[in-house]
Symmetry: C2
Subunit: 398 residues, 2 copies
């Protein structure tokens, strides 16, 4: 759910990490996809024209069999590697995507598209409504994880990629990976849902609702119409981010990094300034986020996650979502992830086992919480490397 | 941290529970304590006059040896039993305090005072500053758990109670119980800290900071001066409450009660109304809270909890906080409490063991989370009953 640039204070500072210069990749400029006709959404609404922005790294091979689709999380975007054009920092999965890295761009063609409803160029509430010329704002239709995946499928059609070698993602990205494998099993050779779930839990819906209420009760939200009125609900979005950010880490991670340390090692001042380091850190998370994210997009994407319930589309039986699936799965969870706990991944694995599917499951021991998938976790990288190498052999890529 | 009236939808509806009519108790009207000279706070500021409101249930015996001080949690107040004058619902611990209940008012004199900094009559930011005649607002000094306990000690002086038979409380109430036992060991015969900790963790400080930021970014907060300006930061306080409320329950409790059920059993509407029952529930928690609580009090009391660190006053060594303590302890934790997890209670127990103190420790198996201490948990009641009965024998009360 996290953009790696904001994770810096908890783990290795990203600014200290050498970023690949953009030209180290086969860096594609922003590309707009449209003209394939209206996209029919789960809500019944049709959207046209469909604009999807994406980034690509590496080369598509002659058979178009080496494409990996990376699906980003709630506040992520298409800039997985290289330098992010807004923040100037490394892409959110720069430690995973690149030459010699688990998603090896010397071998694979790595794609990542900004999700439908997002705010980095893909069609979303901040884009202009062709009917009015003004930003859609709340007139943008509510989208689902299924809609996001349908839009990505259009992108693959456009690129001529019939089958993905792999679809991979963490958190909401993992939800998309599951949706992909369920909806288009013939188009997915392998799938890696990480720190994910086949449905959003009540507690997670509750946390999202807190964030939405924080945004919508900011007067500068203007009933969603802030862009037209030259305003932005900065305070509300920052509070939403702060609340969410806590859920991305763990009690132990907070303790290890901050404990009860005071900011600037001062004495207690008995006031409401950011007295503890953890407060200062959290305030920074809030304010930095506001500079790069759109509040309405936050509403739409959290809502898409809330609606996600793969079993619901199959009579409430999750195993039916993967009926006779040919996809090879690697399901990954982290021990200290309390937002998408291991039990949720286990439900997915059980549903796959009920289909005698090809699935490996790995729970990585770490105290870094949900956002572990964004951090340097050697065991996690080993699992990714091993699974992708094995799948690549089966696919005839190596 | 929770007022029982708002817990209704998760457990037994409190409205269905027969409340004791006020006259079933030796119900004392609101009493104001003052005129004992300035109270010197941890911050160095002196407060005068000190106004403390409290409720008492049962009769103080001739030896004044049967007094139990109940310490309330963040959003609680002095109305542990009977009918709450603002909400019209049973007091927040009505299931624990009363004739034949664990805190048996036929046997004990049960006291509960609104904490210093609170908003139910005790001196706090919404009370009038005698110097200006206007509400203190942010000119009220920041108080600590230690200050709250000092104020309670004044109340006992006033009542002529030299030693408490027991000091008991959950969450912040448990912090106070620990502070009491540490600061005034000779005045405490027994102590029952429940779902508590000897320090506030970084993650908990983070959650509090989210709530404070939500309040302070509400324009109707007016820099804290909302009472003078005839406003109230309703939205900000509601968001703060919603975020906090999630932390009082557990993932399983949310799942058991709400799952992914839709409000009114309607079809999915693809919108931002309260679509899921859990959203509607949470919004209700927020709005109901605003009707009974003061936003600035919320700032002050959360800050007092953040500052709590019993070991810090003793060279960082928690065991020194209980040096040769004569107090009998019963430390209680709940398995699913992730806000004040069992490990925090265990730290307290270890510190007591290092003093060869008289301590029993009990971890209650429940999936109801932090707020279990407010709910009908038979095993919890059995532990309370057993410990208090045993202590009462030692004290010569039975």
């Amino acid at each position: 759910m996290e953009s790696s640039d904001l994770m810096a204070p908890v783990d290795k500072p990203m600014a200290d990490r050498e970023a690949h210069a953009p030209d180290a990749f086969n860096h594609q400029p922003k590309i707009v996809l449209d003209g394939e006709g209206p996209l029919l959404l789960d809500s019944g609404v049709s959207l046209a024209p469909l604009t999807i922005t994406y980034q690509a790294y590496g080369e598509l091979n002659a058979h178009k069999s080496n494409a990996i689709l990376v699906c980003h999380a709630l506040t992520g975007d298409q800039y997985v590697g290289g330098v992010h054009p807004v923040t100037g920092r490394p892409g959110w999965w720069d430690n995973v995507v690149g030459p010699g890295r688990p998603l090896d761009t010397d071998r694979y063609f790595v794609l990542c598209a900004n999700v439908l409803g997002g705010c980095m160029g893909s069609l979303g509430p901040q884009e202009g409504d062709p009917k009015t010329g003004k930003p859609y704002a709340l007139s943008f239709p509510v989208v689902t994880i299924g809609d996001m995946v349908r839009a990505q499928a259009r992108l693959l059609d456009h690129l001529g990629v019939e089958q993905l070698f792999c679809v991979i993602g963490g958190s909401m990205g993992g939800m998309q990976a599951l949706e992909w494998a369920s909806r288009y099993p013939e188009r997915v050779f392998s799938a890696v849902p990480i720190a994910a779930a086949a449905r959003h839990t009540a507690q997670n819906i509750a946390f999202h609702e807190v964030g939405r209420q924080a945004i919508m009760s900011d007067p500068d939200w203007c009933g969603g119409d802030y862009l037209s009125q030259g305003k932005r609900p900065r305070q509300g979005l920052a509070v939403a981010r702060m609340a969410a950010h806590i859920t991305y880490l763990s009690d132990l991670a907070f303790h290890r990094k901050f404990g009860r340390l005071l900011q600037d090692s001062r004495e207690i001042t008995y006031g409401f300034d950011a007295e503890f380091q953890v407060e200062s850190y959290l305030r920074h998370q809030g304010s930095a986020f506001v500079d790069r994210f759109d509040a309405n997009s936050y509403l739409y994407i959290t809502r898409a996650m809330d609606y996600f319930d793969l079993a619901a589309e199959h009579d409430g039986v999750l195993s039916k979502s993967f009926h006779d699936t040919p996809v090879r799965f690697c399901v990954i969870a982290f021990t200290s992830d309390w937002l998408f706990p291991t039990t949720e991944s286990q439900s997915v694995v059980r549903a796959l086992n009920a289909n005698a599917a090809n699935v490996s499951f790995c729970e990585i021991e770490t105290d870094k919480g949900h956002d572990s998938f964004l951090l340097d976790e050697p065991e996690f990288f080993d699992v990714l490397n091993g699974f992708l190498r094995g799948a690549a052999k089966h696919r005839g890529l190596i």
